[in-house]
Each structure stands twice: as C-alpha cells, then as structure tokens.
C-alpha cells in the first residue's frame, strides 16, 4: 500500500518537477516571473490533442510536436510582452503584471473559441496496460511520464553545463550587462531560454493531460498553484531545488490523500508554500537570493 503510493507520488511529483523546471529557468536567467508560462502548458496539451485527433498521430509524434509548439509560442510571447520592459530595465512587478494580463487574455480567447468543456485524447492513444512488480502496479503511461521527465532533465543539464549555448545562458543569468560586454548575443540567448522553458512547459502539459486525461483551456492556470509552490520551496531560480521540491510535493500530496483526506491534498502545496516563506524564504538549498526589502 505504502510502496504503491510512493510510486504514484513519484509519478505525480515528476510532472510537477518538469512543469516547475521551465518556470524557474525563466526566473533564474531572465529575472522575470512570467505568468504566461501556464499558457505554454495549455497550448502544449492542445496541440498534442489536435494532432492526435486530426492526423491520428501517436504519442511519440504528438508529444514533441506539442512541446516544440509551446516553445515557439513562448519565444513570441516573451518578445511581444517583455522586450520593451527589458530595454527600459523596468522593475520585476511590471513584467509580472504584463504577463498576468496577457495570460488572462490568452486563456479567455481560447475559451471563447474552443469552449471550456473538458476534452480527452482519442481512445487507444496510449497503451493502458500496467506492469506488476510484486504488489506494485505501474501503468505504461506512468512509466512514460517518469521516463520523459528523466530524459528532458538530463538533456537540460547537459545543455546548460556542456554546450556553448549553456555557457551563454549561465553568463546571462549571472549578469546581463557583463554578458553583453563579453560579446554574447543577449537577444538570441533570451529567445533560447524562452524556447527551452516553453518546451518544458508544453511537454508537462502533454504528460499531465495524458495522466488525468482532461484537457481544458484553464488547465495551465490551475497548475500554476503547484508551480508557484515548487519554485518557492526549491528557491526562486534554483533548478535543482525545483526538481527535488516537485517530487517532494507530489509524494506529500499522494500520501496526504491516502492517509488524511483528498480535500486536504489540495491544501498541501499552499501550506508548504506559506511555511517556506515564513521559515526558509531562500528555498530548500538556500541558493535563492531572497532579497530583503
């Protein structure tokens, strides 16, 4: 019983971690709380749904197409909304407000044209079978979720630590002006970061859409509660912190639902968020610069 719940918690947690990863990457490098991030999640799921329905694509096609489209949307959204503010070196609250307004407009536009009814992937889109290890059942969807998360995280780490683009991104995160003086193309690096995080958000959208099989325009907004909790518990901008906090949150939620009540599960994320702010605002590993006002 406990081991089964730990497995379920790990699966849920890895989707949270994947979702929060892109969100915290944007903050870590671009110093922006970009609330349009929830929309990338929604758009990833909807593009995957559309290619699955209209072209009968399987998951191996639908997942990358959905994720990469979200990446493209992210680049455009960042360029349209934030270029001007970045140039003016506006405060972090200005960019937060702009992306907040934009994301409501985007969700609502989508709701006007698509409606807010819950949509599902076509029957047989993924194999529903489960494998049993002793008393533990793991479905193929769950394995797909954990496997994809693992691969994407590994690729992101390699990219950040081992490639020239990664070096550019890390330099930008350190100091924008210094990076520019070192000859780094800041505009291009910003676009790359947006693309990466949009792709991560979109992939999370496809996987979570698959896990719960419920897709709806405002799904990204509802996911943001977990996103906020994870990036603050992990420490704003701390990628490793977000990964661990994501998994931790998933496990705690499943355990709460199992041993306390499923209502209490919904309050777990917010409760830990507030506790973190009270007692450890720098995040799990203390690497976030929780600037004192």
């Amino acid at each position: 019983m406990l081991s089964q719940q730990l497995v379920n918690g790990l699966v849920l947690g890895s989707t949270y971690a994947l979702f929060a990863l892109g969100f915290t990457l944007i903050f870590g490098v671009l110093r922006v709380i970009n609330l349009t991030y929830g929309f990338y999640f929604t758009i990833g799921a909807f593009v995957a749904l559309t290619v699955a329905r209209e072209f009968g694509a399987n998951i191996w096609v639908a997942l990358p197409v959905g994720a990469l489209s979200a990446g493209v949307v992210a680049v455009v959204a960042d360029w349209v909304l934030l270029t001007r503010l970045r140039r003016a070196k506006a405060g972090e609250l200005s960019s937060l407000m702009v992306t907040l307004g934009a994301v409501l407009a985007l969700y609502s536009l989508m709701a006007v044209f698509i409606g807010t009814d819950i949509q599902r992937f076509p029957f047989g889109f993924v194999d529903n079978t489960a494998i049993e290890f002793g008393s533990i059942r793991i479905s193929l969807v769950q394995m797909l979720i954990v496997g994809t998360t693992f691969v994407l995280v590994a690729v992101l780490f390699l990219l950040l630590q081992r490639t020239k683009l990664g070096l550019m991104i890390r330099a930008l995160a350190e100091n924008e002006d210094a990076a520019r003086l070192m000859g780094i193309n800041v505009g291009l690096t910003v676009a790359a970061v947006s693309f990466l995080s949009g792709t991560l958000g979109g992939a999370a959208g496809v996987l979570i859409g698959l896990n719960f099989n419920a897709i709806q325009p405002f799904m990204g907004e509802h996911m943001m509660l977990r996103g906020f909790a994870v990036i603050i518990i992990g420490g704003l901008g701390d990628i490793r912190g977000a990964l661990i906090a994501g998994v931790l949150l998933g496990v705690l939620e499943v355990l709460t639902a199992g041993y306390i009540s499923s209502n209490a599960k919904e309050a777990v994320a917010f409760t830990i968020l507030v506790l973190t702010l009270w007692f450890r605002p720098v995040g799990l590993f203390g690497r976030a610069q929780a600037k004192r006002a």
């Binding site: 709380i33 609330l35 909304l81 001007r84 503010l85 405060g91 972090e92 609250l93 200005s94 937060l96 407000m97 702009v98 907040l100 307004g101 934009a102 994301v103 409501l104 407009a105 985007l106 969700y107 609502s108 536009l109 006007v112 405002f218 907004e221 509802h222 943001m224 509660l225 906020f228 909790a229 603050i232 704003l236 499923s262 209502n263 919904e266 309050a267 994320a269 917010f270 968020l273 507030v274 702010l277 009270w278 605002p281 929780a290 600037k291 004192r292 006002a293």
Partner: protein
C-alpha cells in the same frame, strides 16, 4: 419619459439596472482595495481571494447563525484581514514578487477548497438564498466613505510617506518611514475592503459560487486600478466604472470581456504607466 414622473422613471431605471448598479459600487470598493496596496508600491493579487473570504464568511454567518447584518459586515472584513496577516508577515519582508505569487496561489487554493468542502460551502453549486440585505445606499455610502478616507490619508503625512515608498523604498526607509508597518497596514486595510465588497456582493446577488473569486476576478480588479491609474483614489474607481459598464453598453463585447481586461493591463503597463487619469493628489506644503 413620456407620461412618467421623474420618480417613476428612476424606479424603472433602478429596477432594470439593479444588478449593474450594485456591481458598480462593489467593483469601486475592490478597485480601492487594489489602490491601497499599490499606493505603497506593493502588488497583491489576492483581492479576489480576500473578497471571496468575506463573501463566504458573510453568507455563512447569515445563513447558519442568523447574525444581524450590522455584525456580519465587520466580521466579513475581519476574516480576510487575518489571512492577510499570515501571508503578509513573511512576504512583505522579501522583494515584491513573493507577495504577488503567494496571493495568486491563495486564490487558486481557496477556489479548490470551496469546491471540495461541500458540507460547508455547497461545493461547486455555491451558496444560494442569501437574504438581500445590502441596500444600494449602504454600498454607495461605504464607497463614498472609503474614497473620502483615502483622500484624507493621501493628503496627510501618511500619504506623503506612502508616495515616497512607491517612488523609492530604500530612500523612504532612510528618511524614517516605518516600512513594515506601512506595508502591513496597507495590505490589511485592502483585505478588509475586499472582504466588505465580498459580503456586500453575497447579500445583494443572494448567490455566491466558488469560481467568482478566482484568477479572472483577481486580474479584473488589477485592470480597474491600472486603467484608472493610482494617482488619486478616485481614479481606480473610475477605472472600475468604465470596465464594468462597458460590456453592458456594448453587448457584443460581453464574450470578450476578460480578453479586454487582460489586454488593458498589458497596454497600461507598457504604454501608460500612470493610467488614463495621471493627476496626483495635491498636498499642503
């Protein structure tokens, strides 16, 4: 108005537009609650959540305990103020994004809790049959008093301190402004105003549901303040007036109401950082 006396015409007008006129007053209060936090340079996105706490507190006190309205109203303002203390305590010591993030998160968690705690809140169906005790005159009296109050405070020494904080917090602190007290005070007052607005909504619509106080409402309240600007307390109220009545006048816009509210924020922040009413309060030298 052929054949109608002025009084009859007014009665007819009030009857037809009753809901809208209530909403205008309540939205004015919400815009002021947003103004109150922004006036000290902070951003709370929990105004809708605070409103929801006030609405549910008020409705439950009336429906389950049958308390008189004059007692329900202040209690509905008190409940969100307590929540504001719990969230404001840690976040107001940190940079502005922490308050913004935790207040949006508050709205989202409350929405889910209202839906799940069916035994108390009626779940997704919400609470209905709340007696209509919020008279029109009461709503507008409170709105008037709130504007008057903010105007008086804005012209005083406190207003000067608030404006200094908005322009440059560090400098204001060095000049002797007690930053934590001002920030917490502003957040608590704004939560109380939003709670009042929520209680008034519950007792004028006679129905409240879990989705009325979520993300959409939070962003809409911000759009009131950003359209009007926060130079004077009357500006956000005018912003609320315009954005609430616009979709009623231009019916085809109704579907796109939220799209417009969202875009107003984008345009206001990018191109009109002081809103459409950029005047500032005059203060005795």
């Amino acid at each position: 108005m052929d054949g109608m006396t002025m009084a009859e015409w007014l009665d007819d007008f009030l009857f037809t537009y009753e809901t809208l006129i209530h909403a205008l007053g309540v939205h004015g209060l919400l815009a002021l609650s947003m103004y109150c936090v922004m006036a000290v340079g902070q951003l709370s996105l929990g105004q809708a959540a605070f409103m929801g706490i006030g609405a549910y507190t008020g409705a439950l006190l009336t429906l389950n305990l049958g308390l008189p309205f004059w007692l329900v109203l202040p209690l509905s303002a008190l409940a969100p103020a307590v929540v504001a203390l719990v969230i404001g305590g840690p976040t107001l010591r940190l940079s502005g994004v922490y308050l913004a993030i935790s207040t949006i998160a508050l709205g989202e968690v409350l929405r889910v809790l209202y839906i799940n705690a069916e035994w108390l809140t009626g779940g997704a169906l919400g609470l209905s049959g709340i007696p209509r005790k919020a008279d029109l005159w009461l709503i507008y009296l409170l709105l008037f008093l709130a504007v008057l109050g903010f105007w008086a405070v804005g012209r005083s020494k406190i207003g000067r301190a608030m404006e200094a904080m908005r322009e440059d917090e560090a400098v204001a602190g060095v000049m002797g402004v007690n930053l934590p007290v001002y920030k917490m005070g502003a957040l608590v007052v704004s939560a109380m105003l939003a709670g009042l607005a929520g209680c008034l909504t519950a007792h004028s619509n006679s129905f409240i549901g879990p989705n009325e106080f979520g993300f959409e409402m939070a962003v809409t309240i911000l759009s009131f303040a950003l359209l009007g600007g926060i130079g004077t307390p009357i500006a956000p109220v005018i912003g609320a007036l315009v954005l609430t009545s616009l979709p009623e006048i231009l019916r085809p816009l109704q579907d796109f109401r939220l799209v417009i509210n969202g875009l107003i924020i984008v345009v206001a922040v990018l191109f009109l950082p002081r809103g459409v009413i950029p005047f500032r309060l005059r203060r005795a030298p």
